[in-house]
Symmetry: C2
């Protein structure tokens, strides 16, 4: 049999294909034998980095996010371009968003942001050895760079000021890797 409409062959019906997300209805047979239809947001993946200075400060951005209703604190991050390695994407976003070059970009973790409805993976890195670079924002990026001690950022997780998942994971991971605060 020859597949006809494309989507029928693999149980995927494309509802919308956009700039950032693709929404499919996908027919899936689960390991328990049940066949269900799932709404799945297909995403190309992203990379993010925790920029940590030699003094133990982190460089965050306070970015306007429409979906979050205002400005939120984040680490630099962005979508992976076609063919781009995650580590190259992370280094690029550090320079574009906070205007620093990192002499070291070390892999930390990769994780699913919200696997109930999307395949988006974020690859997380630690960026150190920071030197001045050139900030270069897109027309739809509205943000300010904010530098603070890692310990202060940890307190801002606890008090609810920092409430972006990748940023919380990145800061907690950096803090746990470094051990208790240094003198």
């Amino acid at each position: 049999m020859t597949p006809t409409a494309g989507s029928a062959a693999d149980g995927r019906k494309q509802i919308y294909r956009g700039r950032v997300v693709t929404l499919n209805l996908e027919t899936v047979t689960l390991p328990n034998g049940a066949t269900i239809e799932l709404e799945v947001i297909r995403h190309q993946g992203a990379a993010a980095a925790v920029p940590l200075t030699d003094d133990g400060n982190v460089l965050l951005i306070s970015q306007y996010r429409h979906a979050a209703g205002g400005y939120i604190y984040e680490i630099p991050a962005g979508k992976i371009d076609p063919g781009e390695e995650p580590i190259a994407c992370a280094a690029r976003e550090v320079e574009e968003e906070i205007g620093r070059r990192a002499s070291s970009i070390a892999p930390m973790l990769s994780f699913y942001t919200t696997p109930g409805f999307t395949d988006e993976v974020i690859h997380l890195f630690l960026a150190t050895g920071l030197t001045p670079g050139t900030q270069s924002l897109e027309h739809d990026e509205v943000l300010e760079v904010v530098e603070m001690p890692l310990e202060q950022a940890m307190r801002h997780i606890a008090d609810g000021t920092i409430r972006d998942a990748k940023t919380i994971i990145g800061l907690q991971s950096a803090y746990l890797a470094r051990g208790p605060r240094r003198p």
Copy 2:
């Protein structure tokens, strides 16, 4: 002027309304004056809990997730029902997914899962004082309960076995709150 087609009045054009997600194209004027159109996934929000035993073990689920391509480790979590309080949702999911009742459900954090394209917020709790309850799975939930020491779960974050964002945040937060491992 009278709004005509509904969506025009508030700059929202609904592309799809599903069981889990609603996809809109939303016209937004940013603080820098630029007007852009964003793909926004509107979501009702979710609650999750880290179930921690008196012995310092966590109860995770190994759940089949189509979007993640197989089984992944997660903490119990689920969508908030209309009118439901997040804390009630978390307690409900702990009983339904792992078959335990929690005598204490304490708020930990709330966070945006991936604010570049969705308003989904997950409210995270710590569930302790666990006693036997009744597991009750939906037909589309395929999972097994896995108990392990919190320290082992932390190692599984580092080695890439645990790769779900809410689960990483929950485990790291529980570990940081409890302090270094006890004897």
